[in-house]
Every structure is written in C-alpha cells, then in structure tokens.
Amino acid sequence: MERVAAIVFDRLVRLDENGAPEPELAIAWKHDAGARRWTIRLRPGVEFSDGTPLTAETVASALQFPGLERTVTVSGDGVVIESRKPMPDLLSELASLRHAIFRVLPDGSLIGTGPFRVVLWQPGSRATLAANERDWRGRAFLDGIEIQMGMPLREQRVALELGAADLAEINAGDARRQDQSSGRIWLSAPLELMAIIFAPGRPAAADASLREALARAVDRGSMRAVLLQKQGESAGGLLPQWLSGYAFLLAPADGTRPRKVGAGLPPSLRPVKLVYDEGDALAQAVAERIAVDAREASITVEVSARPSGSADSGSDPGFDARLVRLRIGSTEPRRALSELAAALGLGMPPLPAAPSAEDLYRAERALVESYQVIPLFHLPEIAGLSARVRNWQPTATGEWRLDSLWLAPEKP
C-alpha cells in the first residue's frame, strides 16, 4: 500500500540517502528563529493527474488533519505552517507519506501528482497504474504497472522465476535461494526491526529476571545464519548501525547462556505465551526458535499465531509477548528512535533539543536494558528483480522509485 502511495502521490520534500531534505513539490522553505513558523514555497506548474493545477489551497487542505497542533495557511504561491511548539523536524515529517499531497475527486477517490495514476483499485487484491502524462518530472518510462497484492512471498518468488512478474518481495530466508538461482535481488539497508515486546499488565512483563533471561537465551547468531540466511543484522539496540553509528555498542552477547531461571518461575509465568503475526513465515520460524532457545533456560515459551493487524483489546491481550516487525521510517536517528519507542509503547527517555549521538545512545540503552523490548534483528528490505529490469534506484528508506525504471526488450 505504501509502495503504491509513494508512486501516486508526491510530498513537499523527500529525504536523500543521508536523510537531508530535498525539494519535491516545495522548492524553497524558511523558518523563524524558534522554528515555530515555516514558510514553504510551492513548485509552479504542477498538475494533478486529471489536469487540475496544484494550488496552495489544495496543499493546505491536504496537510490539515486532526491531531496536529499546528495551522496551515495559504500565503501567496506557498503555504505557512505555524505552531506554538518548535518544529525543528518539520521537513522530515513532511517527507513521510502521511503528508502526501492529494486531491479528493467528487466520487471520493484520491488523485496525486506522482509519476503514476490509479486506473483500477481492488483493495487487498490488485491495482492497475498508468503513467501520469502530466508528471512535472516528465512522463515515466513505464506505461503502466500491474500490482498483485496479498500474494504469499513464496508465490511471488515463483512468479518472478517464471517471468510472470518483474519485481517481487523476497523473504530473507529465500534471498540466497533467489541469488543462487541466478535471479537478481536487491537488499536495502536494514530498515526493519524485529523484536519481542512484552505486553503491559501481564505477569511476564512485570518480572525483570524473566525478561532478561529470555533476552539472554535467544541465540540470534544461529537464527541469522539459518533462518535469515545470513541476511540482516543481529540487533542489540533499536536502531541499526548504519543509522545510529553506535549500535555495535549494544550488540547482543550471543552464546552466553542464561542461568536456568525457568524452574524458579511462579506458575503464573509458565508458560510464556509468545505470538506472531499470522502469515509471517519468518516470524513464525523465529518465534519457534526462540521457544527452543528458551527451553535451555527452562523457560517454556508457547508460540501461537495472531491475526495480523489485530489490535490489543482490553487490559489483558491474552499473550505475554509479541514478535513485531517495525519499519524504520526516518533516516534521522532521533526521530527514528522516537517513532520506534512510540510504536513499541515504551516511554522515551528525555532528550535535549538537539541531542548528540551520546545522548541518543544513553536513551536507547536505557530502553533496551529495561528488557521491556528484546531487539532481535535489523532486517533489510529485499526485492527480486527480473532480468529485464533496468535503472532500479530505490531510496535509502526503501521506497521504490519506479518513475525512472525501464524494462529492456526481451530477446527474440
């Protein structure tokens, strides 16, 4: 869904490989000394895919949604964003898909200014995109894109191998197989955190010794070697090394077996119920391996699937811990850490307005050593490419940039 949105809708700015903002629909910006008022100048001559010009009113309307403690007003050929609180990270925020610029048609559908437009949309099933002839960057090389949604990764890989697809998501465990079968794969930097998060209010979450014992029992090295087929990184912290620069300081001490604490656990802590999202084969394999490792610490872990996307209901979710996969949505460390902490339900330690790397390290270390979360791996995004795909240039945050992609003609 996000991948489709990224090629249909544009944002005001986007982040480059180093996390620095670069213009997209905005061509210039400035703010006051307190970063409470931002003035943004829009790119002229931009049209939506139906030919409607992009206006400041449309942009202001798209950026207004409930929950934001700021105002967006039209100012000449741009917009002004104001807030009572300083907004030093506003550009990074505007670079997220949440702040994509769109227009609502009378039938309720949305159109954007991106390189492609939606021709057919069957939620959860398939989508057909066509090149946006009015793209301000110039028309995309591809005339259209057929997207199959909800297809298991195994079937995607088969479709890729059979030539029925040009681009497919690849599971980490299948990356080597794809590679060995002379297929092309693309790996992003580790952009996803796989971790165990304990459910608040459950007895296991309240027992620090159990949480620590389970964290120490997990043999990340074996799992990475076998289940991840040596893809990704073993995670001791929340942020990957490429993003934080200090992740090696939080590296897990694999191979140090914990003392056997399980026998001393009260009955209320046995077994520890660990859930994973249904349909996530990698998560299932990791969870089952965690159960095996936990046995060595005499901790009984009962693994079960949980419908993906189901919300935790009530005070007792019915499980003690959950295996989660969280995408790192920002290339800015402070923002990425804050978003991860919020997504995990952890209270973020206080940070100065402009935190140094050491400040972030301490904060992250405090989060990790609480053992409320057990980081497991930082996983890359992996895509399989057919042989005719050319000019594949995804972004640093893993977004597929299909506007510059083209397909080589098949050999007769």
């Binding site: 080597r176 043999d219 070697a225 289940l227 040596k230 394999a285 089952e288 391996r289 159960a291 095996v292």
Partner: protein, 602 residues
C-alpha cells in the same frame, strides 16, 4: 404332608437339581471355552500387533535407508564434509524429504551430533542430538521405539537410523513414524477389539497420555490401575473394565510394556477386547438354559407326579381300606394285582381284614353267648329270689288247706299278700330290664353342668352321712368357664346319679368323692373321683358291660346306662383305677351340639 406329596417333592427336587446341575455345568463349560477362545483371540491380536510393529519398523528402516541412499543426501553429505560447512543451506531439507518419504519424523544430524535439519521440530537446528552419536553400527540395528521431543510435548516413535559416510565424516539420517492415533487407526483389528497407547511412563496416571484411534478415552481413568501395575511389575497384565452398569459394555484390556533400545519402558500398548459378544452369548445361553431347564422341570414334575401317583395309588388304596376297616367295614379290600412289594402289602392287607372279620365274628358270637349267659344268670338270679317266696307261700297255702282249714282264710290272706308283693317285685325287676332296653333319645337343651352335678350329689348327701356307715365327704372343683352345654337334663342327671351311687358302693369304709369340671376347647371334662377300694383290671375291662356287676344285688345296668347316656350325647367315658387307690371316671362332653346327636335328637 401326604406320602404322594413327599414323593412328588423328592422327585421334583431331584429333577430340579439335575436340571440346575446340567444348566450350570453347561454354562460354566461354555464360559470357560469362550474365555479360552477369547484369550487365544487376544493373544493372536497381540501377536498381530507385534507383527505390525515389526512390519512398520522394517518399513521405516527401508524408507530411512532410501533417504540415505539418495543422491541428494549424498550431495548434502559431501557439502557438509568440507571445511567450515554452511549448515544453513540444508535447514529445510528434512521437512521436504520427510513429506516425500511419508515419514512423521526426520532429522539430519551432522557427525558431531549437531542437528542440521529437523522435520518435526524445524527450530531445533544447531542443537545436538543426545544419543545418535553414541552408537557406531546403526546399519545393524532395526527400527526401535524412542521417545521424541516435539514442539509441544513428546511422542513415542518408531525410529530407524542410517549413516552416510563421506570423507570420514558421518551424516546421520534419523527417520520414523509416530505411534499416535493414525498408527492405531491403521491397525487392522477385528470387530469388538481396539488398541490403545499410553505414552507416559512417569509416576502417576495421565489421562492425556492415553489414546485410542479416535482420540482421548472417556473414563480412561478406569485403566489407571492396570497402567500402574504394568509399570510397577514391568510385564503384561490384564484387567476387565466395566464402562457402565451393563456387563455387556465391559471390556477386557491386555496391557504390555513398550520398550526402547535399552529395554527401558517408554509406554504401554493396551489391547481392548469387548465382552459384549461373550456376555450376550452367555445371556442367551442362560436364557436358553433357563427355558430348557424350566421345560425340563415341568416335564420332570409331570413325570414325577405320574410316577408318584403310580406308586402311591396302592398305598392310598391300602390307607382307604384301613380307614374303611376302622369305620367298621370289615369287608374292605384293596387291589393287589402287582407282584412287587406293594402287591404283597395289598395281599397281606386283604388277608388281615379277612382274618379280622372272622375273629370279630367269632368274638361277637362269643360275646353274644356270654351276654346271653350273663343275662340268663342275672335273670335267674333276680327272678329266683321272688320265685322262692312264691313257692313257699303256695306250699304254705297248700299245707294250710290240708292241715288247718279253719286257719286257711287267714293264711290265704297273708299268702296272697306275699304273692302280690313278690309279683310286684318281679314286675319291677322286669321293668328295669325293659327300661334299659328302651333307653330314650336325648332331648337337648342348655344345661348347666356344674348345677346338675351339685344337684345330683346333694341328692345323696343323706346316704353320705347315713347311720351305721362311715361318712363320705363330697368335694367340688368346678370350673366356672364350663357354663351351659346342650344336653338332656333328665338323662344326664340319671347318669350322674348312677355314678354317685356307684361311689357309695365303692367306699364302704367312707372317703372322699371329688367332682371336677374343666373346659377344654369345644369340650367339657367331668371327673368323678372316689377314694374307695378301686377296681381290679378285669373288673375295669368289663365295667360298662350291661348286666355285669360285682355287687350282690346290682342289675349290672347302672354304668351301662351311664355309658349309653354319655354316648347318646356325643361324649366319651373312661375309667382309671388301681386296686386300693380309688377310681376316677372321666367324662368328655361336647360343648356344642354334635351333628350325630342332632340327627339322633331329631
């Protein structure tokens, strides 16, 4: 109880005992035979299960050998035999191979014991198998039972291990099938039999560890005792379990231990044999036996009745003949046609009655002659006394006529007076005899026995205290419960007076007359007891014989009249006496009107 009924009971009891014995014996023998057949059937099944185990074991070993011989396995072994092999490439191999080879369990283990791939517990890669490297020559070891840990719990499995050797390094292939519901369901068992698995040897019975082909066993805790016994004693045991109140629902289980390579007990195989067929057959046999026994019993009783009738009929005829003789029918005879003991008895009876009749006839004739003689003697005696004065008077008249005619008139007057007096005396004597001859029938009315006795005794009080003789004292012991009885007061008074008069004669030296009455059921008992001289035995025997007397001037009719009156009232009189010890007359009179007396009165 009659002889026939006793005989019938004996015959019936004999028939019943015989029928019961036959039915019980047949049932017991049949049960034993069926139990033996069931045992043999179960032994055959258990043997079949053993064969099934062996066959499955061979099959598992063959499949595991097939995996070991496969090129893919050889390539894997080659890949793992190098320096720093990459185990991760083979982590999913076991799952795919197990699916292809239809094995429930498959582990591929490196030479150092590290699990490379596991089909039944994929997440266990990297851990070490604790036992496979401890044995060298797996090729010589057939399939064996092993307890295998799974993701959830453990299972009993039939495993085989084969080794692929490449470059001096071993690659162990451990494959097997689980002993579970599917395994039990795959056993071909005859109807009414089932196999169960108990897959736990820890102390204490675990119901979850007990399964049959359909899953967990309802009321499985009833097998806890059997499981415990096998586990404790380590050998086969059996037990019959009643699942409900109906014996047909019972099931006999034969449990045998399942042992691993080291002969350690890993579980139990229980073979259940439904008792429904045997119980229903037993019930049918019992019903049949009861029916046949009942019919046999009825036939036996009928035969016994017929036989007892055949046997007792002559005896009954003898009894009837005896009763007829007792009733005075001296001509009664019985059939005595048979030549057996009963016929002999009948002939003896007939001879006896014939002889009795002849003796009675002779006795009657002799008694009749004696009676006539006694009567003649009494008449002669009684009439001789008045006849002698008559003769003297007539002779005096003759002499006075001849010798003193002047005095003849006076003599004639005196003589005729004497003659008339003697003739009156003779008339009186003849009158008494006549009265006895025509004793009247009693006219019954309610009579107070006690009052009648007091009046009768009081009449003789002057004689009791008469001058010139020792006094006699009269005592009464009268029961007030006696009350009134139906009797003729005149005749009864006459009888009582005769008895009192008799006591006067029996106590010439004085004494005591005691009169007692007593009510006993429907009879009234009366006693006249004197303390007189008593009777000799011969006197006592003839006491009630008419005209018999021991007195000089008695007619011998007094006690005969008493007996006649008492008899006419339906009563009885008897006498008890010893010489010198007094005499007691016992009278028993009916307190209600006897039928015979009613008819006589009518």
């Amino acid at each position: 109880m009659s002889y026939r009924n006793r005989l019938l009971m004996v015959f019936g009891a004999t028939v019943l005992a015989a029928v019961v014995l036959v039915v019980w014996g047949t049932s017991a023998l049949t049960r034993r035979a069926f139990a033996q057949a069931e045992r043999e059937r179960t032994d055959a099944l258990v043997e079949q299960v053993r064969h099934e185990f062996a066959r499955r074991g061979e099959e598992v070993a063959k499949r595991v050998q097939g995996i070991a011989d496969a090129d893919a396995t050889l390539r894997m072994a080659v890949g793992l035999a190098g320096q720093a092999p990459d185990y991760s490439l083979y982590v999913n191999e076991a799952r795919d191979i197990a699916a292809a080879r239809q094995l429930d369990l498959l582990e591929i283990v490196a030479g150092d014991g590290r699990i490379i791939s596991s089909a039944h517990w994929p997440a266990r890669f990297g851990y070490r198998n604790p036992w496979v490297t401890q044995t060298a020559e797996w090729e010589k070891i057939p399939a064996f039972l092993q307890r295998e840990e799974l993701v959830r719990g453990a299972t009993l499995a039939l495993l085989a291990v084969r080794v692929v050797r490449v470059g001096g390094k071993n690659l162990y292939i451990i494959g097997g099938q689980r002993l579970d519901r599917e395994f039990l369901a795959s056993l071909a068992l005859p109807a009414g039999m089932r196999a169960l698995l108990y897959r736990d040897v820890e102390p204490g019975f675990s119901l979850q560890s007990l399964n049959d082909a359909s899953g967990s066993l309802a009321q499985g805790e009833k097998l806890a005792g059997l499981v415990e016994r096998v586990r404790r004693e380590g050998k086969e045991q059996s037990q019959t379990v009643n699942w409900s109140g109906d014996a047909a629902d019972a099931e006999t289980f034969y449990a045998q231990p399942l042992r691993g390579r080291g002969q350690e007990m890993l579980g139990l195989l229980l073979v259940g044999n439904s008792q429904r067929g045997v119980v229903l057959l037993g019930r049918r046999m019992r019903w049949f036996g009861a029916g046949a026994g009942g019919i046999g019993l009825l036939l036996g009783l009928a035969l016994a009745a017929w036989l007892s009738s055949r046997i007792t009929r002559p005896v009954e005829q003898l009894a009837a003949g005896a009763r007829a003789v007792a009733a005075g029918d001296w001509q009664a005879r019985v059939e005595a046609d048979s030549n057996d003991e009963i016929g002999e008895l009948g002939r003896a009876f007939n001879q006896m009655t014939r002889q009795l009749a002849e003796h009675r006839e002779r006795l009657v004739q002799s008694e009749r002659v004696a009676a006539w003689r006694e009567l003649a003697r009494r008449l002669a005696h009684e009439l001789k006394n008045p006849l002698f004065p008559l003769q003297i008077t007539v002779e005096n008249l003759q002499r006075a006529r001849e010798r003193a005619p002047q005095q003849f008139d006076e003599v004639f007057r005196e003589s005729t007076a004497t003659l008339l007096a003697e003739l009156r005396n003779m008339t009186a004597i003849i009158g008494r005899f006549s009265d006895f001859a025509k004793m009247p029938a009693p006219h019954l009315e309610a009579v107070s026995v006690n009052d009648l006795l007091r009046d009768s005794v009081r009449l003789f009080e002057p004689q009791f205290a008469g001058a010139g003789r020792p006094p006699i004292r009269a005592e009464f012991a009268l029961d007030t419960e006696v009350g009134n009885i139906p009797a003729d007061p005149v005749l009864l008074r006459r009888a009582f007076e005769n008895l009192v008069l008799n006591t006067l004669d029996a106590m010439p030296e004085g004494g005591t007359l005691t009169v007692r009455t007593r009510r006993s059921g429907a009879s009234v008992h009366i006693e006249f007891a004197d303390s007189g001289v008593g009777l000799k035995p011969e006197e006592r025997e003839r006491l009630f014989t008419p005209y018999y007397t021991t007195k000089e001037h008695g007619t011998g009719l007094g006690l005969a009249i008493v007996q006649s009156v008492i008899s006419d009232h339906g009563g009885r009189i008897s006498v008890a006496s010893e010489a010198g010890q007094g005499t007691t007359f016992h009278i028993e009179l009916p307190a209600v009107v006897p039928a015979a007396v009613t008819r006589a009165g009518a």
